[in-house]
Symmetry: C2
Subunit: 224 residues, 2 copies
Amino acid sequence: MPDRLVPHFQEELQQLKTRLLEMGGLAEDRVRSVVQALVDRNPAVVDRVLTGDGPINQLHIEIDSRCFKLLALHQPMAVDLRAIVSAVKINTDLERVGDLAINIAEAVKRYMRHAPVKELIDIPRMAEIAQRMLRDALDAYVRRDTELAHSVLNADDALDSLKTQVFRELLTFMLQTPTTIEPALDLILISRHLERIGDHATNIAEDVIFMVSARDVRHHAREL
Amino acid sequence: MPDRLVPHFQEELQQLKTRLLEMGGLAEDRVRSVVQALVDRNPAVVDRVLTGDGPINQLHIEIDSRCFKLLALHQPMAVDLRAIVSAVKINTDLERVGDLAINIAEAVKRYMRHAPVKELIDIPRMAEIAQRMLRDALDAYVRRDTELAHSVLNADDALDSLKTQVFRELLTFMLQTPTTIEPALDLILISRHLERIGDHATNIAEDVIFMVSARDVRHHAREL
């Protein structure tokens, strides 16, 4: 086959990374938009998030198909093989982050039917941390940077303790003022969705560490 | 290399399938145990689920490593390539189901500190549906049965409407009787975790359809 029909593996892999970063950017944008819409009580933006998953879904399919092509045509080994299988997994994680933006949007829509429960501080902070984790995890993938990947794993604790704090505070509201029960429930669900976005970033970071070092850190903490 | 050092691909693939079924069985058992423990208010079983994720985590790592070996040694093509990449994804989904059993166990533990909110009917039904979906999705993978995979996609609607029903009913309890707020919240979280187990089964079913037909059904419904 002439060379131009089978482009060089490293070039194709570079394109794959670029597409993954693009996908990560889309996922992050959706999370940022929907949480900003919650703070601003802006239903138009919420609707845009609810219906705007076309581009991310298209990229999801495209990236998967690039991965299969790379595996079939180039039959990569060692770190390159792990990089492509990781890309398949990361792609799935990013698509779920896009879906979680929809779950958040649904909760925001319900939330806006009620008076605000409280000034929102912790939830936007959770969103910022989750976005940062996503961005760092993807940077770590592209640069094969295990140190950055480890920093993502650590950031997950901050997210977790914010989630617990949000839960306790909202529970107090619910117990004291029954009219806050419905909207507070939606804020609790939103904080859980944000926690899950952090979980996806964590998964990506673990894949990066495995890809670079072939060392499986996934069940480490729990087994120690 | 002598033949006995590189076993036949189909034989290795068969072993991979057996391990995936085993992993599915473990995941399903954990879900069944923890929901039964909720119904029976049995803290010992809850604790067993909380600490019993060792075997599933070990299998997770083993299956992943089998997949990498198959990809590297045999460089499979077409449906075999898709079968192995699907196995990587399915393995991830099953591991998350195992984790969700822990999330449920944590909620059950909190729930048992309070008087029962109501007789539990819908949550055990959700668990049954989710377990059935998982089992069918894995059978569909092993038998490359797209019809069975499609039936899993359809079952997801039943799970979704049960989740909505549980939510509405518990919300009514919370609004009428503030002492039920805390335990009802945990039941709502449990129903969300069960819904996510159904989502994982759905992911597996979509992978099966893609593996067999190379047709991507994942973003179909939403784009129509």
